[in-house]
Symmetry: C2
Subunit: 146 residues, 2 copies
């Protein structure tokens, strides 16, 4: 029965999966920052795979949000106080770029098209900045019910 439930939860691809996983995990960790958590535990809670967890959390570690320890009694911990980790930190660590494109697209040959392209990109960049600013207003500690 528990097996069936787990089967129902896994193998489901979600949009914004990385961001969702990162946010849920960090929020959960914020409730007990001292506790060391293994990728297996986290994967169980998130209904996914330990390797996937390590992939995502690895990016957060590169951004300085998490620390990881190998070996016995190893696992993951917050690198700093949960109040000091904002959603923007998480978003930027994952390098998602939800709104603006990555700007490596081909530049149109026509000059008027080129100007329009630059204008659109500029506006979307502005929106992206606005998004990051909004994300920066909330810390992961505020995601807990406490």
């Amino acid at each position: 029965m528990l097996r069936d439930l787990k089967d129902a939860r896994r193998n489901t691809l979600k949009r914004n999966s990385r961001l969702s996983l990162a946010l849920h995990t960090l929020s959960h960790m914020a409730g007990n920052p001292e506790k060391m958590r293994t990728s297996a535990d986290i994967a169980d809670h998130a209904g996914t795979n330990p390797v996937v967890v390590r992939r995502v959390l690895g990016r957060l570690r590169e951004a300085g949000l998490l620390t990881s320890e190998k070996g016995h009694a190893g696992g993951w911990q917050l690198a700093r106080a949960p109040e000091a980790i904002t959603l923007a930190d998480v978003y930027l660590a994952l390098d998602e770029r939800l709104v603006a494109s990555d700007e490596n697209a081909d530049a149109p040959a026509c000059s008027v098209e080129h100007a329009l392209h630059k204008r659109v990109s500029s506006v979307l960049e502005d929106v992206e900045r606005s998004l990051v600013q909004k994300l920066g207003e909330t810390s992961i500690s505020e995601m807990r019910g406490n």
Copy 2:
């Protein structure tokens, strides 16, 4: 040569392709709202396929941003003044939901996990609303250089 250039431009998958195509097309149309444009013309400018154009613009028509006419001398036109079409209109018409998930994800069994999930979703919904508001501040007429 022109053949090669076109070959280089097509078959390139971009992120946010629909939004990008819609924005560029509408901005371009805003420069000359009276002109009727065919999906073939638009596809040429965008370096894509007429069917793809019709797919994307079809959504914009459903949202009341565009009108399409069949038959000879048919094509696409803005349904209203370009000043009255905001980026939020376009974004919502495409139903992208860049930040918040589609909320059809499975609800966790554990109650504390469930509460956290709801909290995270709530915050992301708030961010999404903020994004739409920001997009609503710019009209497609402002994307033109004029």
